[in-house]
């Protein structure tokens, strides 16, 4: 009975606000008071489905997944361009930072969930390849003046065998995303860059990964976990597919600590980004969803707790750009 009264109240509030809810000022108000009952449209969907948030709206869980899919389907073609425009190119630095902190060794296996257009995987492969080249150059330089020991070992053992051993374990990146369109764009990008070996593309759900247990050395999810309906399930799956000793790394938008910067950031998010979305990609609503979903995502400490609850250890986070982006990392031990 309480539920039906709540439903009635919500409907009254919704009707009252329907007339004035299209203006940007309401969005700014709602950004400062994140309780989504008062200032937002409430799409309460029956008592059967559990409800969750889609930006500032309340939707059923099934609906959220579908709407997120539609958002990314429509932005897929212009995704990379929009990233550059919205972040003024800074997203590249964030992703480079992720790779730098990861510091992958050649021969490891990376799973890039919600990898979409493959930014992280391509960076990973480049990093590992340039490392291998550096090592190769160093050994070539060293071989120019080999010691007596090295000459004697090269006589006794077949050189081919030694070389094969180090090259046999080639680094591998698997990009997994729930959205086919994003993967298609990513695949085309990889082909145009000439990267094809060591990179695989799979359509899969982060909450139900199609991979065997204990398979990957590193699991990354960059700017994707806030779109997952059940974040705890995604974290559990991450723990499942990681090898013992494997690393979980997550880049995500987070809470800005400095209040002045926070206000500037809010103004930029709600005034500029949807406008950019409309001008460049022709899609205001998707980018409205983007900035709203950032506000709904838990802050650094809460997310750290969630990661620890899933069973990862030594969980740390680095704030990038004053807290605009946080890089969380944990280990499966």
């Amino acid at each position: 009975m309480a539920a039906s009264i709540r439903l009635l109240a919500r409907r009254i509030v919704r009707d009252a606000f329907r007339t004035i809810n299209s203006s940007v000022s309401v969005r700014i108000v709602s950004s400062s008071c994140p309780s989504n009952l008062s200032a937002c449209r409430c799409f309460s969907d029956g008592a059967a489905d559990k409800s969750t948030h889609f930006g500032f709206e309340t939707v059923s869980e099934g609906e959220k997944a579908e709407r997120v899919y539609k958002v990314f389907e429509s932005v897929a073609q212009k995704y990379d361009v929009m990233n550059d425009a919205m972040s003024l190119g800074v997203h590249r630095l964030w992703k480079d930072m992720l790779l730098h902190v990861m510091n992958p060794q050649p021969g490891i296996r990376l799973l890039d969930v919600a990898g979409g257009t493959g930014d992280i995987s391509l960076r990973f492969l480049n990093y590992v390849r340039s490392q291998q080249e550096r090592v190769a150059r160093r050994t070539a330089r060293a071989n120019q003046t080999p010691s007596w020991q090295e000459i004697s070992t090269s006589y006794t053992t077949p050189t081919e065998g030694i070389e094969m051993e180090t090259e046999a374990r080639e680094s591998r990146a698997v990009v997994c995303d729930i959205n086919k369109e994003m993967l298609k764009v990513g695949k085309q990008k990889a082909e145009s860059m000439g990267v094809s070996s060591g990179l695989s593309w799979v359509v899969g759900d982060a909450e139900e990964l199609p991979f065997d247990d204990d398979q990957f050395d590193v699991y990354t999810i960059a700017f994707g976990i806030r779109n997952v309906t059940h974040i705890d399930l995604a974290l559990q799956e991450a723990v499942r597919v990681l090898k013992p000793g494997g690393r979980f790394m997550c880049l995500e938008f987070s809470k800005v600590t400095n209040p002045l910067l926070a206000r500037l950031y809010d103004a930029y998010s709600f005034q500029m980004i949807p406008v950019l979305g409309e001008v460049i990609a022709g899609d205001w609503k998707s980018y409205q969803y983007l900035v709203e979903s950032i506000r709904k995502f838990p802050d650094q400490e809460t997310f750290k707790q969630m990661i620890e609850d899933a069973g990862l250890f030594s969980v740390r986070y680095h704030n990038l750009t004053g807290g605009v982006v946080a890089l969380h990392s944990g280990f499966k031990l």
Binding site: K187, S196, V203, P210, F211
Partner: protein, 111 residues
């Protein structure tokens, strides 16, 4: 607003032209490139990389899959479902999988 539409139209046509040129260039360059999957980009003939099968499993049962070349699908014998492979990318979403047996059940739902 009309200017925006016009600008977008120009951008799209320009992009289309450049990608058309690029595709021609790429077709010439492709035979030279040495890569693991060296077949050309025909619709479905991109050979599915079977090395993926090492760790790719059914998301529902977490059991190994069998690659069926004829229908270009990944088959889970136990549950009798087949995951399609489109453009060389396997689609491992349970709701997109096809039932193989003639069961009157509705398609598989995610757990």
């Amino acid at each position: 607003m009309f200017q925006n539409a016009l600008r977008r139209l120009c951008n799209e046509t320009l992009r289309f032209q450049t990608t058309a040129k690029y595709v021609h260039f790429l077709r010439g360059v492709r035979p030279l490139s040495v890569s693991a999957r060296h077949l050309t980009d025909v619709k479905d003939a991109l050979p599915f990389d079977t090395s993926l099968l090492e760790f790719l499993v059914c998301p529902l049962s977490k059991k190994q899959l069998r690659y069926e070349e004829k229908t270009n699908e990944l088959i889970n014998e136990e549950l009798g479902i087949a995951y399609p492979i489109i453009d060389g990318i396997p689609n491992m979403i349970p709701t997109d999988a096809r039932l193989i047996k003639n069961d009157p059940e509705t398609p598989v739902e995610p757990a």
